[in-house]
C-alpha cells in the first residue's frame, strides 16, 4: 500500500515519468536488445578472474514472446546440455542422463554463468517501472579485460528507471536501469537479488560496428565476487520463427533444432 502511495506522490513531482510513458521507455530500451517476435541469438561468454580469462562458453539462445527461451550449450564441456524456460517454469537436460529434469528457480541460478543473464534479454515482460527520473549518466571507468571501455557510449543525460519484478522466477528482483535520454539506449543496470543485495552491474555497449541496431556486448561486473567479471557478446541476433512445440520439455531430447 505504502509503495503505491509513494509512486503516486512521486508522480506529482516534475521530472518524474510514470505509467504509459515509463512503459514505453522500457519498451524502447528493449528494442535495442532484441527485435520483436521470435529470435535466435548466438552468444559467447568470457569469464574473467582478476582480469585474466578463466573460462569461455558458447550458447545458442532461442527466444519467443511470452517469456519463452531455450538455451543450447555449445562449449566442448557442456555440448548437448539445454535449459528451457517457460515463464517461471524451468527444465534442464543434462548430457549424462538425456532426461529433461524439472528444476526450481534456485537450481536455474546454479552454474557458472546464470542462464537468466543469457536468456532474459528484455525487461518489459518481466518488470514494472516503480519510478523514473532524469539523472546524469553513469560512466564505466574500470579496466575491463578484452573490452575497450572507450568505445562505450558516454551520453550525459540519462533516465533512471527503478524496476521491480512483476512475475516469479526472474533472476533479479529489482533493477536500477540507466537509459540514454535521447535514443533510449540502455547504458547500465544495477541488478539486485531477493535479499536486496546488489549482485552485479551490467554495462551495455554496441562495440561491433557491423551491428548498428542492437546491443552486442554486455559486461557483467560481479559485486559479490569482486574479482570476477563476465563479457557477453551477442554475435548474431536474427529473427527466427519457431514452432511452439519446440518449447515443450519433451522436445529437448530431439535433434531437430539444427535444421530449423
Amino acid at each position: 500500500m505504502f509503495r503505491y502511495m509513494l509512486v503516486v506522490m512521486l508522480g506529482l513531482i516534475p521530472g518524474f515519468v510514470f505509467g504509459d510513458e515509463a512503459a514505453q521507455i522500457l519498451h524502447d530500451a528493449d528494442s535495442f536488445r532484441l527485435p520483436n517476435g521470435s529470435v535466435r541469438v548466438e552468444t559467447d561468454v568470457r569469464q574473467y578472474r582478476n582480469n585474466k580469462l578463466d573460462k569461455e562458453r558458447r550458447y545458442t539462445v532461442y527466444i519467443k514472446p511470452q517469456r519463452r527461451s531455450l538455451v543450447l550449450m555449445k562449449s566442448p564441456l557442456e555440448v548437448g546440455q539445454k535449459v528451457l524456460m517457460l515463464g517461471d517454469k524451468f527444465w534442464l537436460l543434462t548430457i549424462d542422463s538425456q532426461r529433461p529434469l524439472r528444476i526450481t528457480a534456485s537450481q536455474k541460478l546454479l552454474g557458472e554463468a546464470s542462464t537468466g543473464d543469457i536468456a532474459n534479454m528484455t525487461w518489459s515482460e518481466d518488470y514494472v517501472t516503480q519510478n523514473a527520473e532524469d539523472v546524469i549518466c553513469p560512466q564505466l571507468t574500470a579496466t575491463i579485460s578484452d573490452v575497450d571501455v572507450e568505445r562505450f557510449l558516454k551520453p550525459s543525460e540519462c533516465i533512471q528507471l527503478n524496476l521491480i519484478a512483476k512475475v516469479d522466477g526472474v533472476t533479479y528482483s529489482n533493477i536500477t536501469l540507466y537509459i540514454e535520454k535521447k535514443h533510449r539506449t540502455p547504458i547500465k543496470a544495477d541488478l539486485f537479488v531477493n535479499s536486496g543485495k546488489k549482485a552485479k552491474e551490467a554495462w551495455y555497449a554496441k562495440l561491433n560496428s557491423s551491428n548498428d541496431k542492437y546491443i552486442d556486448t554486455m559486461v557483467l561486473i560481479d559485486n559479490i565476487q569482486s574479482t570476477h567479471h563476465t563479457v557477453i557478446n551477442y554475435n548474431n541476433i536474427e529473427p527466427k520463427e519457431c514452432p511452439d512445440e519446440f518449447f515443450n520439455p519433451a522436445a529437448l531430447i530431439r535433434n531437430t533444432l539444427p535444421g530449423w
Partner: protein, 404 residues
C-alpha cells in the same frame, strides 16, 4: 566391426575438422577421459572368494576413454573407445536419425531414452535401464528403437518399438512402450506403459511438483506383471556345491517399484536431496538370508577343494550386480555448488531393514575445457547387512576429462 564403426565416426568428423566444435551443419565433440580407481577388498565379506585363497587386498584399475560425438544435421553419432587395462573395446553409444513428417516426429536408430522420475532410482525407466548406484560411470549406451512422437505445446505422446527382434537377453528384450507427458504450472506428469513377451505388462505413473523457488517434490510408481532376477539354483537343492555356474535367471510375477522424494536448493548453492525408494524386483531379506546361509555352508563344510569352494562363492557374488541390492532404500545427498566451477556432494544410501550403509563423497572442479573429479565410496553398516558384505570395502577414484 566396432573399431570400424568408431573410425567411421571419426572419419565423418575428420571430413571437416575433428577438433572444431562446429563447422557448417556438422558439430563435433571429442572427450578424453582418464580415471585411475583404487579398490580395497573387503576381507570380512562372506562373498569375497579371494579371502579364501589368500588373494590381493587391493588393486588399481585405470580407465582410458575417448568419446566422439558428431551431430550432422539430424543425425547423431556417439561412440567410445575404451581401455580399462584388462580389456579394450569400442562401441557405439548412440547412432540415430530424428525427423518430422507432418505433425509426427520419428526417431530411428540407437538412442538413450530416459523416462524416469527421481535421482537415486527411476522406476519409470522401462526402456533405458541405468544402474544409478554405479560410480565413475561412462556415457550411457542407447537402445535400438523406432519411435513416433506427437508433441504439442503442453503435452507429448511417444510410442516406441524398442530392441526390435531382440529376445532372450535379460537386459534387452523386444517391447512396445508408450509415454504420455503433460506439464502445467507447477507439475510434470508422466504415464508410461510397456509390453514385452518376457515381462508382459508394465504400467506406471510419476509426477514432479515445484513447491516454491527452492523446493521440488517428486514420486513415481511402476507395476510389473512379470520380472526376472538372478538366483542361485543350489538353494532349491540339497547340494551345496556346483561344478557349473549355478546362478540362473528366474521369472517371477507382480512387482512394484516406487520412489518419493524432496529436493531443496538454496540460493547459497547448498542443496539437500531426500529420496525413499522401493524395488520389488530386488532381493528380499529372505533371499539374502538363504544365499548367506548357502555361502556359509560352502565355506565351512570342507568337503571340496578350496578352489571349488572359492569358485562357488564367486558365482554367488553375481547377486551384487543387481541395480538395487535391497528392496527398501533411503537416499540422502548434501551438495554444494559455488557457481564458479566447484561442486561437491555427500551421498548416503541406507538400507533400513538390515542397517547397511553406502557413503560417497565427490568433489568436482571445471575449468575451461577440463573437468576434474575426486571421489571416495565406503561400503559399511551392520556386519550382517548386505551393503557391508559387498566384496569391496572402499573405492576411490580420480577422474580427468578433457573436451574439445
Amino acid at each position: 566391426m566396432r573399431y570400424f564403426l568408431f573410425f567411421i565416426t571419426l572419419g565423418v568428423g575428420g571430413y571437416q575438422n575433428v577438433f572444431a566444435l562446429e563447422y557448417g551443419v556438422v558439430q563435433y565433440n571429442l572427450k578424453y577421459l582418464l580415471s585411475p580407481e583404487y579398490h580395497e577388498i573387503n576381507h570380512n565379506s562372506l562373498y569375497y572368494p579371494g579371502s579364501k585363497l589368500g588373494g590381493k587386498d587391493k588393486f588399481f584399475s585405470l580407465k582410458n576413454e575417448l568419446e566422439l560425438r558428431v551431430q550432422w544435421d539430424k543425425i547423431i553419432i556417439q561412440s567410445t573407445l575404451s581401455d580399462k587395462g584388462y580389456s579394450n573395446l569400442s562401441y557405439i553409444n548412440q547412432l540415430y536419425y530424428d525427423d518430422a513428417v507432418g505433425f509426427l516426429n520419428f526417431t530411428f536408430g540407437k538412442k538413450v531414452i530416459s523416462w524416469g522420475v527421481g535421482h537415486a532410482f527411476r522406476p519409470l525407466d522401462v526402456i533405458q535401464h541405468e544402474n544409478r548406484r554405479a560410480i565413475n560411470t561412462s556415457a550411457l549406451i542407447g537402445v535400438p528403437l523406432i519411435s513416433v512422437e506427437k508433441i504439442t505445446p503442453s503435452d507429448a505422446l511417444t510410442v516406441v518399438w524398442a530392441n526390435p527382434f531382440v529376445d532372450h537377453d535379460r537386459n534387452k528384450n523386444e517391447s512396445v512402450a508408450f509415454r504420455y507427458y503433460l506439464f502445467s504450472d507447477n507439475y510434470d506428469f508422466h504415464f508410461v506403459g510397456q509390453y514385452s513377451r518376457k515381462n508382459k505388462t508394465e504400467t506406471g505413473l510419476g509426477a514432479t511438483r515445484i513447491a516454491n523457488e527452492n523446493i521440488s517434490l517428486f514420486g513415481s510408481i511402476l507395476y510389473a506383471q512379470r520380472y526376472s532376477n538372478i538366483k542361485n539354483s543350489l538353494i532349491l537343492t540339497d547340494n551345496i556345491y556346483s561344478e557349473v555356474d549355478p546362478m540362473e535367471i528366474r521369472e517371477y510375477t507382480d512387482a512394484v517399484r516406487a520412489n518419493i522424494g524432496l529436493q531443496w536448493t538454496g540460493n547459497s548453492g547448498f542443496g539437500i536431496l531426500l529420496e525413499a525408494y522401493y524395488d520389488g524386483e530386488a532381493y528380499s531379506q529372505s533371499d539374502w538370508r538363504r544365499l548367506d546361509r548357502l555361502t556359509k555352508e560352502q565355506v565351512a563344510s570342507g568337503l571340496v577343494s578350496r578352489e571349488v569352494m572359492a569358485g562357488n562363492v564367486a558365482w554367488s557374488s553375481a547377486a551384487f550386480y543387481q541395480d538395487n541390492l535391497v528392496r527398501e532404500n533411503y537416499f540422502m545427498r548434501l551438495s554444494y555448488d559455488n557457481a564458479n566451477g566447484f561442486k561437491s556432494s555427500f551421498d548416503l544410501l541406507l538400507a533400513p531393514k538390515d542397517g547397511g550403509v553406502i557413503a560417497t563423497i565427490e568433489l568436482m572442479y571445471e575449468k575451461n575445457t577440463q573437468r576434474y573429479r575426486l571421489g571416495i565410496r565406503h561400503y559399511g553398516g551392520k556386519a550382517d547387512s548386505v551393503f557391508y558384505n559387498i566384496p569391496e570395502s572402499n573405492v576411490s577414484w580420480v577422474r580427468f576429462e578433457l573436451s574439445f
